[in-house]
Amino acid sequence: MSARLHVDRTRCAGRGACTELLPEILDRDPWGYPLAVDGAREPEVPAELEKHARRAVSNCPVLALRLHSNGG
């Protein structure tokens, strides 16, 4: 089962931890904020990257990331 990554933009301070842990999914914009590589509002996280995504969620210093399972 795949999941989606949600960024709370009101919390995100552009520290960049997630973009380092999930380069396949998140790029950095010119100001340091995560930019979904696929352009989606909530980018898809394929099953094989889910472990990395969870790590990104727990390593976000401002707790701006959440992982939703699709359809949930």
Binding site: H6, D8, R9, T10, R11, C12, A13, G14, D29, P30, W31, G32, Y33, L35, G39, R41, R66, H68
Partner: protein, 412 residues
């Protein structure tokens, strides 16, 4: 189109909504009768679905669907939204000033339809709020008129104050800023309760719909966009103001209602600052007017200057919460300003495209998206103007040169 009405109403437009608008309860009761209670929750929802009524705050979301979501929750909250942060819009204020009882009837009916326990009116300070307070007091004195007391909450004078999650925040006593949401306000809003936030025009339409039925409602407008809407006509027209017109009315007819054009219309901004520019075409039917703003630009105005001015305003109205909006919009506005005022570097256009891509869809609310939509439509509609400006000229008559003499306040 208008019936036997006093001249003031004719000026206002005189469709079914505005011709049913009376500031005092006695006249309202004499002309429209009491609140047409439906006898319990859910009963109105089918009629609303058949009518095709959509939200008049800008998003045009089907009203019945919101009702049907909110009714499922525990002790819902209903909110009449008259924040009207859009600078080009005046219709919500006008409606509350002239017909507060229509709005308040609609609020009571919406509350009945979803089984609400609490009702609010969220309105910017000013004559409209005063009118609404007077109307609420009048109704409170009339035993049995209202079933739910209405609490007035003052909306701050900001562009985003009317965004649903900002409305919820303001009612909860916090700053009226949008919130990151993974759950809809209609599922969890004010103090965690399911919350119906409806624009005041939507509620007034609901009050008439409950009296006359969906078939009556569909007599006006088009099949896909039934009913009338309140248009705020601004810019280069002889009589700017609020007019009630059917959906699908041609732009030329609406401009005619607003006293005719001043000069030669060249473009229109439809839907307000988050709307889209279109080349002016008199025969083109108006569709998807958002919150109803139609701002007319004439050949004496420069579309790029106007776009840069609006983008500058919108950049200043960012809630400054989300990085891409906070960083992207001011840069976007500055790039447009340089383009409009004659910094003829061709890379400015590519920069606008890059900045719109970097901000689109990257905020908690739709403020960046709406701004981007307006800017992209400008680059499309004013493409020739962009080329002229890059070559150091301006198409506005009698401007002709950049820095642009047409930098006056064209659209308000």
């Amino acid at each position: 189109m208008t019936g036997v009405l006093d001249p003031k109403r004719q000026l206002l437009g005189g469709g079914p909504l505005l011709s049913s608008a009376f500031p005092d309860l006695a006249t309202h009761q004499r002309r429209l009768g009491p609140v047409p209670w439906q006898g319990g929750p859910a009963r109105l929802i089918g009629a609303v679905e058949t009518s095709g009524l959509t939200g008049r705050g800008g998003a045009a979301f089907p009203t019945w669907r919101k009702l049907a979501t909110v009714i499922l929750g525990d002790r819902p909250v209903v909110v009449a939204n008259a924040a009207e942060g859009e600078p080009a819009s005046a219709k919500d204020r006008t409606l509350l000033l002239h017909g507060p009882h229509l709005v308040l009837d609609g609020l009571q009916l919406a509350a009945e339809a979803v089984g609400a326990a609490t009702a609010y009116l969220y309105v910017a300070a000013g004559p409209a709020a005063d009118s609404a307070r007077r109307a609420i007091a009048e109704r409170a004195e009339r035993a049995g008129w209202d079933r739910l007391p209405v609490t007035v909450v003052v909306a701050p004078d900001t562009f985003i104050a009317g965004e649903e999650s900002a409305v919820v925040a303001a009612i909860e006593g916090r700053p009226a800023r949008p919130k990151d949401r993974t759950v809809l306000v209609s599922e969890r809003g004010v103090r965690g309760r399911p919350t119906l936030v409806q624009n005041v025009e939507t509620l007034a339409q609901l009050a008439l719909l409950a009296r006359h039925g969906p078939a009556w409602f569909r007599q006006r407008g088009t099949h896909t966009e039934p009913g009338t809407f309140l248009a705020t006509v601004a810019g280069s027209v002889a009589a700017p103001g609020v007019y009630e017109v059917p959906h699908g009315i041609p732009f030329g007819s609406l401009v005619g209602r607003a006293g005719g054009p001043v000069g030669t219309p060249s473009a229109v901004l439809v839907g307000g600052y988050h709307g889209r520019w279109l080349p002016f075409a008199a025969e083109l039917p108006i569709s998807a007017p958002g919150a109803g703003v139609v701002a007319v630009l004439s050949t004496a105005d420069c579309g790029l200057v106007e776009t840069a001015r609006i983008a500058g305003y919108l950049a200043g109205q960012s809630a400054r919460q989300c990085g891409p909006c906070l960083n992207g919009l001011p840069r976007l506005a500055e790039t447009l300003r340089r383009l409009a005022h004659g910094d003829g570097r061709p890379e400015l256009v590519a920069r606008v495209h890059r900045l719109t891509a970097l901000t689109d869809g990257r905020g908690a609310c739709r403020h960046p998206d709406g701004t981007v939509r307006m800017v992209r439509s400008a680059l499309h509609v004013f493409a020739e103007e962009v080329d002229r400006h890059l070559a150091g000229r301006c198409g506005a008559v009698p401007c002709g040169a950049v820095p642009c003499g047409a930098a006056r306040e064209g659209i308000r």
